[in-house]
Subunit: 228 residues, 2 copies
């Protein structure tokens, strides 16, 4: 049995962690079945078997792997069909792309999404989320949140993606690959929480629809929080 | 004969175009000899043979190629040893890296460098540079210049590079490749103009020294404008 331990909101169907989405997208891409094990932030004890406390964790028979990039690497080693990472040079460039994305996309999105995340959590998670994030930000969630500034910053961060996707269908070229799933996870984060801070008819918007359709063809409709 | 048409300052030895440096670094990496043809901004007529007006232009026997990325691709096709680009997947990822770099590094550097560039040009180029840039920026060079803000923005933009170079010697992994030269060009731009807006002992600083040493081993010392 293959199990993906991931983050859930109030409803167990509401999956929004961008790093967990990377793994869902990669598993669907390879056509690998799995059972989702949605956990709350405060269900960390259930991850003790993995020797650490963060989702995503993949348990594949006897093998346990955590960290989204490590899971993608594991999947390529164990299931080489439809590779995600590529050769050594492609792998190094994927790491750099991941770093560029990590330093530009999530902070912008978080300013847009943070209150929506809080509102979508199980009540038992809300106090944990508020306390841990307010400590990290050094201010209250309400002070940190700035949907307008987040949108604007995200729009800036989309420019390199928009420029590339205007000339090719996938970030990884003619077919989807690791770069599409690593970056796509951030888009599913916003999407599942009921936001879409990109234009439907932009190159990025068309790419996201393609990514969503590919995933849904394998796994069925994605559960999306209703916009309040 | 192999000739590289590139941009020069007041002194013909002062080469500072980041896009021309990409090609110099790539040629040195492949161990290919060439003659530099340094041009002023206002020497555009000398590029007429290339059918367009921008440096870098490489003339390699009968072949003429312009645009830094196109020149790197040409070099790999014609001289496959020590490849720059890699396979199709690696090539697509290099394009995305180039876009991420292009949208984060040069604008920050330009705010830091613009007055230094102006001061380093041949007098016949200064009026052209001022007029064309002031039209692009919608303000005077002096209003656009902001060394402090440029440094700060550049420091932010270095973070993904710093994170990767803390774990591997080159952006392209164990050996230098296209990503190192495409991004390295921006560092030579600042360096040749007498600036170094990165810490000498940072991972990025160590990487730049390595890049510089590799280049100078082939081509001799890089001419650097004296700091005013």
């Amino acid at each position: 049995m293959r199990e993906l331990f991931e983050l859930r909101g109030r409803e167990p169907e509401l999956l929004f962690s961008p790093y967990c989405w990377r793994v869902r997208l990669a598993l669907a891409h390879k056509g690998l079945d799995f059972v989702g094990r949605p956990l709350r932030f405060t269900d960390k004890a259930e991850l003790a078997f993995s020797g650490q406390q963060l989702v995503p964790v993949l348990r594949d028979g006897e093998t346990v792997v955590h960290d989204s990039l490590a899971i993608l690497r594991y999947l390529d080693e164990r299931y080489p069909e439809r590779p995600l990472i590529g050769d050594e040079l492609a792998a190094s460039r994927l790491l750099l792309i991941e770093r560029f994305a990590q330093f530009s996309l999530p902070l912008a999105l978080l300013r847009l999404l943070v209150l929506r995340i809080h509102a979508s959590l199980d009540p038992v998670d809300q106090a944990y989320f508020r306390q841990s994030r307010e400590q990290r930000f050094g201010m209250s969630l309400e002070e940190f949140a700035d949907a307008g500034a987040g949108r604007e910053q995200f729009e800036q961060a989309l420019k390199p993606l928009e420029a590339l996707l205007a000339r090719q269908p996938w970030l990884d070229g003619a077919a989807p690959g690791g770069a599409d799933f690593l970056i796509g996870g951030f888009f599913f984060w916003a999407w599942c929480l009921g936001e879409q801070p990109w234009a439907e008819d932009s190159a990025v918007g068309v790419w996201f629809r393609r990514l969503l359709a590919g995933y849904e063809a394998h796994k069925g409709p994605v559960y999306r929080a209703v916009r309040p």
